[in-house]
Symmetry: C2
Subunit: 210 residues, 2 copies
Amino acid sequence: MWDLSLLGLSDRRFKEGQALYRSGEVFDSVYVIRVGFVKTVALLEDGREQVTGFYMPCELFGLDGIASGRHRIDAVVLANSEICVVPYHRLKSCQSQSRAIQNLLNRMFSREIVREQHMLLMLGSMRAEERVAAFLLDLSERYRELGFSASEFMLRLTRQEIGSLLGLKLETVSRIFSRFHKSGLIEVEGRRVRLVNREALRLILVQSRT
Amino acid sequence: MWDLSLLGLSDRRFKEGQALYRSGEVFDSVYVIRVGFVKTVALLEDGREQVTGFYMPCELFGLDGIASGRHRIDAVVLANSEICVVPYHRLKSCQSQSRAIQNLLNRMFSREIVREQHMLLMLGSMRAEERVAAFLLDLSERYRELGFSASEFMLRLTRQEIGSLLGLKLETVSRIFSRFHKSGLIEVEGRRVRLVNREALRLILVQSRT
DNA sequence: CGCGGATTTGAACGGAGTCAATCCGCGTGG
DNA sequence: CCACGCGGATTGACTCCGTTCAAATCCGCG
């Protein structure tokens, strides 16, 4: 697993709604979540915005800034969080001293690329219900990896934010949650979700259409 | 610019339609295009597919395999191409010997992440016309960087493939090309495109809607 | 020439968006 | 303690953009 404790860095606390960085700011550090949740948001010049990532504890983000030396998106914490801020120069020196760190970092980079590819596949090829099903199953899996329940968990995002992440409108997300509930696939109350019939959810993804 | 000539690797030739790697195959190497064009394609279990990337000379791809040791998508050459195949173990040893290479590789990783974020923004937030305009302007810019004309170039992709890349159907792409043509924004014949009014194309992206 | 794949174009459909009303939960202040 | 306000969520009715289906044309190539 991801552990930079050898860097001897301490975590910093952030409050809900606080921005870790904003698009256009000089890139300085990458981030690892210890406790809490973060979303990344890409902005269009006319004000439209798109949630491009949702990050959970132990996950690394902020890598977008390396290419140009400036961040290209915003990162906003979704709840009071503890986040390990890793200055990029520290990371680089570690990287050159330890092949293990080097390989680990390469895998982290690659994992982020794969994550985004999944998102592209979703946004480009899936229907609304499929996206929501994929989203729920992905969350479930990630909570499981963290040692939490895979069948009952909290959405840390509003319907609006979920919609943005999935390329849908909030009303659509809400409607699909209701539909899934009526079909006995999930139970929802507010942001608390319980996956009642995981197999059926997965079927929504697998079954080819016409 | 991207140059791994110090690795002393020679290029290999590939024929149109040939796959450099397929989803599920063991990851071994990354690739740099010398001459030619490559698309990457993500697959859904039911057969649907999504073009996730279109790569031009000097561009690096194949990084998705590092995370899990297996490729997660297909890479297919679009024309007879010369491609530099860089075994990952070679890359790693270079990386540990030279900080310059290490930093360069980090930036390449990051660039790929940023590229995918742009695609996410497109697929999640843009309307069909905006996506096509953004696609054309992106191509134009990349041809310019390669020293080719920024205003007249060849699409290496079919309407089908462009549609897949943009999350649209081929008919929609075709219609929008026609519409742009009628509005005097571009000239199209087959896969040859000329940007007649770049400013107007850019306006399509910038102008906020209602 | 003639075939097959790519492209264009039209007509009709439908899934997700838009607009609007209502509800709900929660914190805040009278 | 309760009224109020406010942002988030739900639901319905209607719209519209992009898809689907279909037909015609183009074009490269054996």
